[in-house]
Symmetry: C2
């Protein structure tokens, strides 16, 4: 397994929502853009990715529609909803808190 797969767990939704903040996009491309951002270090597994899409759609954070490609494989595009944008902002906030908390917790120096 790669370096940090378990550490990323719980951030999948945030990562996907972030990719949809600027513009609609489809699964395969979203995944590639994630790989590019980490220089190939990290990639969402397809099963994880599509599971997350279902979860996010069910909870109203994203909606989906089929693209009208004349050629090539069909693409399902995802669009972030207003509620999804709110969710993203709140997840970002949680991450900031969690980051500080973890840093506090994994250091060896005594309290204070």
């Amino acid at each position: 397994m790669s370096i940090a797969s378990d550490l990323i767990r719980g951030h999948t939704d945030t990562i996907i929502l972030a990719r949809l903040m600027d513009s609609d996009n489809y699964g395969y491309e979203i995944n590639k853009s994630i790989q590019e951002r980490t220089g190939g270090t990290y990639e969402l597994k397809e099963a994880t990715l599509y599971t997350a899409f279902r979860r996010l759609e069910q909870s109203g954070c994203i909606s989906s529609y089929w693209g009208d490609e004349q050629t090539g494989a069909r693409r399902r595009y995802y669009k972030i909803t207003e509620s999804g944008r709110d969710k993203y902002e709140s997840l970002i906030g949680e991450w900031k808190i969690a980051k500080e908390m973890i840093d506090k917790l994994i250091k060896t120096e005594g309290t204070q």
Copy 2:
């Protein structure tokens, strides 16, 4: 559930190992020290804590022994092993990488 329980997932082992780097300690006290460090914001649930102890002991990161208290409830003390110290250092390294990676992945700005 509290703010960031799912985001901490995967760091439990690191958090526990960190608490044992300086000195041996027992479960209940370890958990209290974790609560104190976050000002009560976060606490490991007991089931999670003891599951983690089993896991860490099985993988050779910690060893355990019963304290010789003359009074009060019995205490099982945990001691970090050499291999546990190595593991801790490597987990810290992974955290640094993961932290940067997540920061890259959850931002909305374009690549580069």
